[in-house]
Amino acid sequence: MALNVFELEQVSFAYRGVVALDKVSLSIPAGQRLALLGANGCGKSTLLRILDGLYFPDSGIVKYHGVPLTEHDFEHDAFAHSFRKRVGLVFQNPDVQLFCPTVFDEVAFGPLQLGWPKDRIKAMVAEALEYFEIAELKDRAPHRLSGGEKKRVALASVLIMDPEVILLDEPTAALDPRSQRQIVDLMKSWEDLGKTIITATHDLHLLDEIAGECVVMDKGRIAGRGSPAEVLADERLLLGANLILGR
């Protein structure tokens, strides 16, 4: 049986009194491809940020590989570097994530902050740019790119660190069908690498391709869990979570 990468016990979080997560308990085994399903504002993005150690719960416990994750842990360089290398988050809005003057600098940013040797970084960036088919964009300013190109650069900037856990916040949102297909194909290609992939989405039609397990969220709580086929067959669950329209 696979060990859990993350375990959440009764986790609650609120933004200035507005509840985003309400007593969420969840286990995520290593190597699982998990989809967090839910309508806008149901707490998916907040949950991803908690898993990435960017937010910390108001109450409850988050465990990473069985050890509670606290704000205090991130004050130590060794732990922070190790965690940031092993867990990567791709934000929903690529404009948030692309803050460097060129695509090359953007992809190199993470490894540089983690103190990797500079010669190795240059070679790895070149490799990542080739892998994501953005090598010809390396000297371009990120704000001049199309939505699909920005998304690929954002993915490259996180995947270059080869994290064992990849957190994706609405990776196909606001993309044209071709760019969506490219991103989904990329995600499918990671299937054999044994990585844990947690994707927040409300694109039900992509579930079969991007997830082996689904968690449905509603108003900051977990409303249901199952395989994509089970979740998609549960009309009442999807209706309750505002993911489909009633007839």
Partner: protein, 272 residues
Amino acid sequence: MSEGLHHLVHRRKGFLDRTLAELAHVLDRSFSAELLSTSSGLLQGIDPRVKLAGAGILILTAAASRSLWLLAAVFVVTVTLAFASHLKVRELLTLWISVLLFSGVIALPALFLTPGQPLGWGVTKQGLQAATFLLARVLATSTVGSVLVSTTPWNHLLRAMRAFRLPVVAVVLIGMTYRYIFLFIQTTMDMLEGRQSRLAGELPAKERRAMALATVGVLMSKAFELSSDIHLAMQSRGYRGEVHALDESPLRVRDWAILSILAVGSGVALWR
């Protein structure tokens, strides 16, 4: 100016609308500037570090010069390089007119207030010399700066700054500011378009002002939210309060040769 932008500038009234239309014009101009800076002109093919250092040498030469001939030489060399790099005369003329008008206002009192040999109408010879020097210096140095910026993509210029040991954090901040200015201009344009699409006819001035204030408020709120998210995105990729950057590759022999010629030439010209 594109047709849509032209329409925007001339259709809308009111201070905020005009300002926003001008912002759109900035976007349009920055796009043209980016195209020019990546075209195949003489200066576009030179390493940005050499251009930055070369511009520094020319500006220092102009600032230290006590000869109008030397200032004229700096100006002529720069303009020749500009034309060899496909800069438009119109762009340079716009720069020169604004520089002359602005500096002219500052230089004007010197004509009358500097003591010396009278030339008539209260103007002194020394005053005329001081004003001419000031205008010539400003004209030469602003032309050098403008040619540098016009022929170098902004991101290359930032890299060049890093090569001259400017603090990495300062260079990163300048780069991020530049990058997000465009995002906010675009966001502002979208908000304005959204507002216009739901309006029929002109609003009273009081309501227009209230709406303008609300727009500014929303934009500020978005800016705070974005800055917080950017910080999280940086943290997520290992940022711990200190920015690290890649080193630049060493300059080529040709680059050193250009810089040496420029430095020696300027030194000799100043010494004579």
